[in-house]
């Protein structure tokens, strides 16, 4: 009897240990490359893809998670990683969308992960409040840290993980071991990701302030009050910061004190993070307009109107701007003119921002599908 009890305990312990080990492991031959490693493709969250994207796009594969997909995936070296509201983190093969592994967590994932080398970092929402670092090569959990409600995407830069907590604090952790390097408290809740450009970290809070901190130390350099709460990520590029407020005002700031270069007031409220490319800033509004602004002057270039709000941050390339909308459609516009070039209708709203890798587009939808598009035949018509 005693032996049986001990055996049972041993089995249970082993099972527990096994379950602690992440089921996220890439198949052999995984080679991390540049890829799309975080929200916006880089620490400044510009959303710019420097490769070639050819239209029309064709659906290559789709994978169904068990719940809506709000966050954007990361794509590196044959792997697509993303979290879902079904409390799972998924790892798919980029070639065919086959499931390579998944990790069940205690709470949902609405923020985009970040990847560096072979390690993927992601955070969970209220109820688990933890940031995880998983080695995709070994499948081991490298570290985890309980920070708070994480609904904002992670930013990786300077071997640090920058994470915003719903409680209003902003943290910089060591990417290596998860130790906290510094933290910063804003005056409100922080739901927006931080953008990193050079030595500076830019962070928006729903207290209406944009904060500029030193990346190494977290020391505040300046703060600028905007017209309302900041829900979405700033975009930082070459010393300029572009950010929008909830009430639909877009700002461009630069300089040591964050002087406002220009501002643009949309007719509706802002519904997603801006993106930039080719000297333009692209912003989506909740009245269904995607507008292109001149990055230097803020002058409106064009607006394209869809049925419903545009919650996803656009993906830009040299020629195109691609975004998802609440009407469930993925749109591709001519970046110069705003003319519709291609579209695809998924089931439900597309809140996730599309990402690109080797000419392919990946985007998640509220219908629970992760879609992968690639170059289609010349004569294939615009899809759905």
């Amino acid at each position: 009897m005693k032996l049986r009890l001990l055996t049972a305990l041993a089995v249970m312990t082993a099972a527990c240990c096994f379950s602690c080990r992440a089921h996220l492991r890439l198949p052999d031959g995984f080679q991390p490359d540049g890829g799309w490693s975080m929200l916006g493709g880089n620490s400044g969250h510009t959303g710019f893809y420097s490769g070639q994207l050819h239209l029309p796009l064709e659906l290559l594969w789709q994978f169904r998670a068990r719940g809506p997909i709000v966050s954007s995936p990361v794509v590196m070296g044959g792997a697509v990683c993303f979290g879902s509201l079904d409390k799972r983190f998924y790892l798919l093969s980029v070639m065919d969308g086959q499931l390579q592994g998944s990790l069940k967590l205690k709470s949902s994932i609405s923020s985009s992960p970040a990847m560096a080398g072979q390690t993927v970092y992601f955070g969970t929402e209220f109820g688990d409040d933890t940031i995880y670092a998983v080695d995709l090569d070994t499948g081991d959990m490298r570290w985890k840290a309980e920070i708070g409600d994480i609904s904002a995407s992670l930013t990786l830069a300077r071997q640090m993980v920058f994470v915003s907590s719903g409680s209003g604090s902003f943290h910089a952790l060591s990417a290596e071991d998860g130790s906290e390097l510094w933290w910063f408290q804003t005056g409100g809740r922080v739901n927006s990701p931080a953008a990193v450009d050079g030595e500076m970290v830019y962070l928006g809070s729903d207290d209406g302030f944009l904060y500029a901190l030193k990346a190494e130390s977290g020391r505040e350099v300046w703060r600028r009050q905007l017209a309302g709460a900041i829900w979405w990520s700033p975009v930082a590029h070459e010393g300029c910061v572009y950010v929008g407020s909830f009430e639909g005002k877009v700002y461009a700031l630069r300089g040591e004190q964050g002087e406002v270069m220009w501002s643009y007031q949309g007719e509706g409220g802002l519904s997603g993070s801006p993106a930039m490319g080719n000297g333009r800033v692209y912003v989506g509004f909740d009245d269904g307009k995607l507008c292109a602004l001149d990055a230097t002057s803020g002058r409106l270039k064009w607006c394209f109107t869809v049925e419903n709000a545009i919650p996803s941050s656009p993906l830009t390339s040299y020629e195109l701007v691609i975004f998802g909308a609440s009407d469930g459609t993925l749109y591709a516009l001519d970046g110069e003119t705003g003319e519709l070039r291609w579209s695809y209708h998924a089931g439900r709203a597309i809140v996730s921002s599309p990402v690109a890798w080797q000419g392919q587009i990946f985007v998640g939808s509220m219908d629970g599908y992760m879609y992968a598009f690639g170059e289609g035949a010349e004569d294939s018509s615009a899809i759905k």
């Binding site: 409100g188 729903d206 009407d327």
Partner: protein, 951 residues
């Protein structure tokens, strides 16, 4: 949905052994047909007077249900709805996937006929959104701006509920719960329109009079106008203090906790208690300083009334009354009524002239909508709802008799009549089938009707100048009218020209000419709340002078005969009272009434390209309202399971109910143990009718017949015809095959029976928190059950239930109920009595027999209005605890006795009781009774604790 507990005291033998499913099914089936429906024991009647030829206009996001006469209105409503949809989809970050049904009525009198809800719709309901099919049902009241706001308000509910449902579903949370009502309605008010004078009035009064209800206790005033405004104020505070984004964030965080207060704390970072404290503090800072520069009405005018809400005063010439009096409307006793107040040496005397809400002639007096007016010889003109439409009544004040009525076939609703100086004509506002409110004039002799204005604008409150040449009235025809603002206008009698008198982004209402004809008193919110102003209309520039500076609101001025005083109503302490004040010799400096030349008239919204709406005829298409299943287990009777389904069409005119359950205790009995029922009810016509079929089989226990098995199947038809809101007849006929076997006696019988019942029902009751307080209820029933094959009469039944409620004071009443039941035949009906609902002090069903008589007397008194008991796990609150002192007398028997012998055999009970309201549907009852046979009073006090409304 309300339950009618009387149904559970039905005439038929109550089956002791009922499967739970069947019990729930019957209750739910009848519960769906709540007191507004004719099938209930009592209840008032919702009458479908009008045969609407419904059509459907399909737009991008809506299906607008309308009838041809309101086509223009429907197009405007569709445009408003689409615009609101776009804005709200952006605000909620949530588009909707299905078209929203929007059902439009061109007048409130039509709206009250709707079957989309089983409830009676009082005039205070300006529209609603219902859960079953997500329908938005709205009446038009003459103002397009008001329609726009109402549509938007209801759509906020649609989006709000959808957002919460989707957020919970996306996060795998299936426990669907809603924010508190103040939050739901407050958000709808906040996002549907601006903060207006009425909102300001209610909030100022609440704060200054100390009647502000804290957020955590807002449930106490659920459904009241104050709750709406406090909610709107609180939501606005959240937006201003914490950011507009927090409102959306609150809903997006809905999955993070199971209680509103927790989600709020997660979102705002402060507790509900702290938020409440901050909000109340901000209100006090805002409103207390106003006392320095504003007046309370009783400080600047003589208060003439004190009890209840009193509105729409009109000066009554002295005539034979001695001094000048005032007529006004009041709901002080719960019913709407018109009173005459005359001053006297020993104080003011009040006489009730018209009792409203108790007869078909005066179903409603439009307390908040229609003014009163008297002619020089003391004939009162007032409007009442009488059956389908409104009627203009003329009443001689001295005799109290209605001397004439005018009913206009082309007009649905009327308001605010005004006599001509000579007493030959009356002008009033009227709404036609299209819903537009215009001015009309009727000649007293002959009744010829003339239409004075004919347009889309909301023309109200006409007032005749003393020289008979002009009408002053209020209208939204100015450019600011697009946003709902009303200004004053002058209409030249005989010429039809209209001249603008005032202008601005505010409201000017209720003009009243001075006796000299050189001034017009009116009510205006140009300074934030309604106050009285005087407009000079003599020679020269017309200027407006402020007369009152009341902190809350003053309305409906009327001049005394000598032109030196005004009577008006003012708001304070959550009620309206009537006041009288003198006109000062010199008024405040005036401002120009009209500074601009006006502007282009506005037109209602129209749907914009590119997609034109499609129009189709309405087709009855059923959809699911209720589908529920249940499984039950009883240690004695075994297992049962089943489901029930309710299907109705979009307009609620056609209702289908299906019920299936099985009570087999062994496999071999499965097929033979099905209980099936289906019924169909057609509510589209004035006479409601229905029918259905059933198959029931079960073992039953009856106190009289004992244990027996019965299998019955058959069909029934039923019809109900209302004569008025208060009276109806019902007829039902049932034909069934009945196989019955009595386990105790071994006797069995198999027969075909037909039962027919005919009832006359009257209900004018006024309800308090735990039951009726005033009015009367009556039900008289004749029943016959017979065997068609042999012609043999199984039983006859005569039943009477008479209830009268004598109002002793505002909160005390004496309730009397007399019940008599008699059945005769081969298998007479057996009636039961005993327990908390009829003969208190005795066990339930203690008395049984084919004859029954019962007399209840009960004095109903208030005890405690609110009792809050704190427990470690939370608070228990009992609201509206009422007391009762009762005397019950009655008996049931089978023998054929003389009346004297029957009276000698009656039993009685007397005692005291308490009733406590628990939520909306339940009343707890606690009675302490002593029983007697009228020879002896038995010493033991019987305590009974049960539930149920007062009779």
């Amino acid at each position: 949905m309300t339950f009618n507990m009387e149904l559970l005291a039905a005439e038929e033998p109550i089956m002791r052994r009922l499967s739970i499913i069947l019990t729930i099914s019957l209750i739910c089936i009848f519960g769906l047909l709540s007191e507004g429906q004719a099938q209930f024991y009592f209840g008032k009647n919702k009458i479908q007077y009008t045969d609407f030829k419904w059509q459907v206009m399909k737009t991008d996001h809506f299906e607008v249900y309308f009838y041809p006469q309101e086509r223009m209105l429907a197009e405007a409503a569709a445009a408003m709805a689409e615009r609101s949809y776009r804005e709200l989809a952006a605000k909620f970050h949530q588009p909707l996937s299905r078209p929203i049904p929007l059902i439009l009525y061109s007048a409130h009198n039509y709206f009250q006929q709707t079957n989309t809800t089983p409830y009676m719709l009082p005039e205070s309901v300006g529209g609603f959104m219902e859960f079953m099919k997500g329908r938005v049902v709205i009446p038009f009241n003459g103002s397009y701006a008001r329609l726009d706001r109402t549509i938007r308000h209801e759509l906020v509910h649609v989006f709000n509920l959808a957002k919460l449902r989707i957020v919970l579903r996306d996060h795998d949370k299936f426990q669907y719960y809603l924010p508190p009502l103040w939050m739901i309605e407050g958000l709808a008010e906040y996002w549907s329109g601006r903060w207006d004078a009425r909102a300001e009035m209610v909030m100022r009064d609440a704060v200054i009079s100390g009647n502000l209800v804290p957020l955590e206790q807002m449930y106490r005033i659920n459904g009241t106008f104050q709750m709406y405004k406090e909610g709107q104020s609180a939501v606005e505070f959240i937006a201003q203090r914490y950011g507009e984004d927090k409102i959306l964030r609150l809903f997006e965080n809905w999955w993070k906790a199971k209680k509103f207060r927790d989600v709020l704390e997660i979102t705002l970072g402060c507790s509900l208690k702290e938020l409440d404290r901050q909000w109340q503090y901000s209100l006090k800072k805002r409103y207390f300083p106003l006392m320095k520069d504003h007046d309370m009405p009783e400080q600047v005018a003589d208060q003439l009334t004190t009890v209840g809400s009193n509105l729409k005063p009109a000066v009554c010439p002295a005539m034979g009354l001695g001094e000048e009096g005032v007529v006004f409307m009041s709901n002080r006793m719960g019913y709407e009524a018109i009173y005459l107040l005359t001053p006297g040496e020993e104080g003011n005397k009040e006489r009730r002239l018209v009792r409203g809400e108790r007869s078909p002639e005066f179903e409603s007096l439009h307390l908040h909508r229609s003014k009163l007016n008297l002619s020089g010889d003391g004939v009162l003109a007032f409007i009442s709802k009488s059956r389908e439409t409104d009627v203009l009544n003329l009443m001689d004040i001295e005799t109290g008799c209605v001397v004439h009525k005018f009913k206009f076939p082309s007009l649905i609703s009327l308001s605010s009549p005004c006599w001509s100086p000579g007493g030959d004509e009356i002008v009033f506002s009227g709404a036609d089938f299209h819903g537009h409110v215009d001015l009309y004039m009727v000649e007293i002799q002959g009744g010829a009707l003339s239409r004075l204005t004919a347009d889309i604008y909301d023309d109200r409150d006409p007032s005749w100048s003393p020289d008979g040449r002009f009408l002053a009235f209020s209208s939204d025809r100015s450019p600011q009218g697009r946003r709902g603002f009303h200004s004053l206008y002058l209409y030249r009698i005989g010429e039809g020209e209209i001249e603008q008198l005032t202008e601005g982004s505010h409201n000017d209402y209720a003009p009243s000419w001075s006796p000299e004809g050189d001034r017009i008193a009116f009510s205006s919110d140009r300074k934030g709340v309604f106050n009285l102003y005087i407009l000079d209309v003599g020679e020269g520039d017309r200027s407006v002078h402020r007369l009152t500076n009341i902190i809350t609101g003053a309305f409906d001025p009327d001049w005394s005969v000598d032109g030196r005083q005004l009577v008006f109503s003012a708001y304070g302490n959550q009620q309206f009272q009537i006041y009288r004040m003198g006109i000062p010799d010199s008024l405040e400096p005036g401002v120009l009434a009209l500074r601009s030349d006006g502007g282009d008239p506005w037109r209602p919204a129209k749907l914009t390209a590119p997609r034109a709406p499609s129009l189709v005829r309405y087709r009855k298409k059923l959809s699911l309202d209720i589908a529920q299943s249940a499984v039950s287990y009883d240690p004695v009777f075994g297992v049962g399971g089943g489901f029930q389904v309710a299907l109705t069409d979009m307009l609620g005119d056609h209702q289908y109910y299906f019920l299936v359950n099985n009570i087999a205790s062994a496999r071999r009995d499965f097929l033979s143990s099905f209980n099936l029922g289906f019924s169909y009810f057609n509510l589209s016509r004035r006479t409601n009718f229905g029918g259905g079929g059933f198959h029931f089989v079960d073992d039953y226990f009856d106190d009289y017949y004992g244990w027996y098995y019965e299998r019955q199947f058959g069909a029934f038809v039923t019809a109900s015809h209302p004569f008025s809101k208060f009276h109806r007849i019902e007829l039902s006929t049932l034909l069934k095959n009945s196989d019955k076997e009595n386990y105790d006696t071994g006797k069995s019988r198999s027969t075909i029976l037909s039962s027919s019942y005919f009832s006359f029902i009257k209900d004018t009751s006024l309800w308090g928190p735990v039951g009726p307080m005033d009015g009367s209820r009556m039900k008289l029933t004749l029943g016959l059950t017979w065997e068609p094959r042999s012609g043999r009469v199984f039983n006859r039944a005569v039943m009477a239930d008479l209830r009268q409620y004598f109002r002793i004071s505002h909160r005390i009443s004496h309730a009397v109920r007399l019940v008599g039941r008699y059945s005769q035949g081969v298998e007479p009906q057996i009636f039961y009595m005993g327990g908390s609902w009829d003969m208190r002090g005795y066990p339930r069903r203690h008395f049984m027999g084919r004859k029954l008589i019962l007399l209840n007397n009960e004095l109903r008194v208030p005890v405690i209005d609110n009792l809050l008991v704190g427990f470690p796990f939370g608070n228990l609150e009992l609201r509206a605890i009422r007391g009762a002192i009762f005397l019950d007398v009655g008996n049931a028997w089978n023998e054929n006795l003389s009346l004297k012998e029957e009276l000698y055999q009656v039993h009685g009970a007397f005692g005291i009781g308490l009733r406590a309201r628990m939520g909306y549907f339940t009343v707890l009852r606690l009675d302490f009774a002593k029983i007697t046979d009228f020879d002896t009073i038995f010493p033991r006090t019987r305590v009974q604790f049960f539930f149920g409304w007062n009779y």
